[in-house]
Symmetry: C2
């Protein structure tokens, strides 16, 4: 949880004067989202989310994200829609930061997903992959396999402070993945961060996807691997194969996984584990003084990585033969 | 920035089943409020605030707060209204904490109040004092003068870590205030925490008051003293007498201050400064490891206290003769 930047009502009023949203009725900082500052905004025209982008690097990528959210919505994927100002741009500036208003998406994220949530997630992810196929902009996955070497160099020197032997494990795993990574599988737009807090439900119905700020071009099955990690493990660290089966069946019902994708799944899942293990380790070792963010536990993903190292076939994740 | 207890959607759904609010459409943690956890709740019936009370001590006082908010609203003071469950109670329990739903109040709190905001605040506070006169429950001010001795004993031993000489100043000031405190002035219901973030505006119009969890019975003019501190000093520490004049004129236009109240104002303002100085000093010295709260600067209130020690007449705050 984090609100990094407060906004005065005067700055906000003059920012909103560029939009056709009517008068400001309330705004409140939201205690969700780690990367950016989010406010719930109520104006005479309705409810919106205002996001301030805290990391300078994001600014260049914003046209990709804006275009993608519009492209997906036009193809039936429910996601927040960028609101354009009177100049026709969705991108503005507020207290010195890139800022965007998007429509408010109803729904609740599920703290403890059950089997039917996993089915719905699998199906929605496959639809996203299909809808993304015709999107023309490209964005390299900055946190994909080509970025892990840099992350490993940042994480390794002090990784043993997190867990003894972690530094060596990271470097070994990186070498193994680089030598065996399947670079010619079906690729396209992936969300790359479909953790439960980015998937909204209304009752049992999946109502939409949010937070496209890691979306990029990468292997489609890598997105599945991320979700197996994020949705199908129990709190005690055990893999729930019923949830895995549901997720994969939900996906397969929309877009059939190719055999070579299925074969690669254990390796992709190791990669997806390493990626989160690396960024969480770095965050863990670099909590800034006075931070309002409590870092997430890297060891959760060390356990997941170790689990995947023992898997040799996607049927162990529940994939139907 | 809030203490923060997350609530699962299942717990929330079963909590909401006790209310006639329809289905849950969204809920988001709000990054405001220091004492409690607040969520913005959207159900089929509208928008609400759900509060979890984090400190056990509050539970006994909740009937007072609930009754007061209802009493004030019935007398024209706009404030959040407790929502009753199907058993007719506004007080429930969620994840082991006392919990309450109140109506959502539109408005924006003013980061940098101007003179007209101060007039509106003075007037609203006087109306609150008048409306509270007929409220029948009583609540002692736990952080009033009779509580300062305990606070001073908590703060003093390490107060010099905050500012050299602070411990001695606290004890001297406490003695002076205890020997001179005017105990027979007009008393009644006060809000006791009318800082700008608890006063909402829509445009230039004051739209409501929130956060009654310090409300209590105490000297009415002490509420004014709290507000002179919270609304009429500039960021550089200087007192803006134009704002003071506006606040006092706004108040006097509704409820005329008695001469003995005006005479006591410098002393009450010293007390109001000491109270905040004490709690901020204690918070500053006791930030728990991993806290998500950044403590507020105690020295701001040390400067205000020193300012008031040099004042001998309420006209120096802008009170009209």
């Amino acid at each position: 949880m984090a609100v990094y930047t407060d906004v005065g009502e005067e700055e906000l009023a003059s920012f909103l004067a560029n939009y056709d949203l009517g008068g400001l009725m309330s705004f409140k900082g939201i205690a969700e989202g780690v990367e950016n500052t989010n406010f719930l905004l109520h104006t005479e025209r309705g409810y919106f989310i205002l996001t301030l982008y805290e990391k300078r690097v994001a600014a260049d990528d914003l046209p990709f994200f804006i275009g993608l959210m519009e492209h997906l919505a036009a193809r039936g994927i429910t996601c927040p829609q960028p609101v354009k100002n009177r100049k026709g741009s969705a991108l503005g500036e507020l207290v010195g930061r890139p800022a965007m208003i998007v429509t408010f998406l109803e729904g609740v994220w599920i703290r403890r997903p059950n089997v039917s949530h996993c089915t719905a997630l699998g199906s929605a992810m496959a639809k996203l992959h299909q809808a993304g196929a015709s999107f023309e902009l490209h964005r390299k996955n900055a946190l994909g396999i080509d970025g892990w070497k840099n992350l490993a160099h940042l994480a390794a020197p002090r990784a043993d402070e997190v867990s003894l032997g972690l530094a060596q494990l990271i470097l070994e795993e990186l070498t193994h993945l680089e030598n065996n990574w399947p670079r010619s599988l079906p690729a396209g737009i992936i969300h790359a961060d479909l953790f439960p807090d980015n998937v909204f439900f209304l009752g049992d119905r999946l109502s939409g996807l949010i937070d496209f700020y890691f979306a990029c071009n990468d292997l489609l099955a890598y997105d599945i691997a991320i979700c197996l990690n994020a949705w199908c493990f129990e709190i005690d660290g055990s893999f729930n194969v019923t949830k895995g089966r549901a997720l994969l069946a939900g996906y397969n019902g929309v877009r059939k996984l190719e055999k070579r994708e299925a074969d690669a799944l254990p390796l992709l899942a190791r990669g997806a584990s390493l990626r989160i293990l690396l960024t969480r380790t770095i965050d863990w070792l670099n909590v800034p003084p006075g931070a309002l963010v409590r870092p997430k536990d890297p060891l959760e993903y060390l356990k997941k990585l170790r689990f995947h190292r023992r898997i040799d076939h996607a049927r162990d994740y529940g994939l139907a033969a």
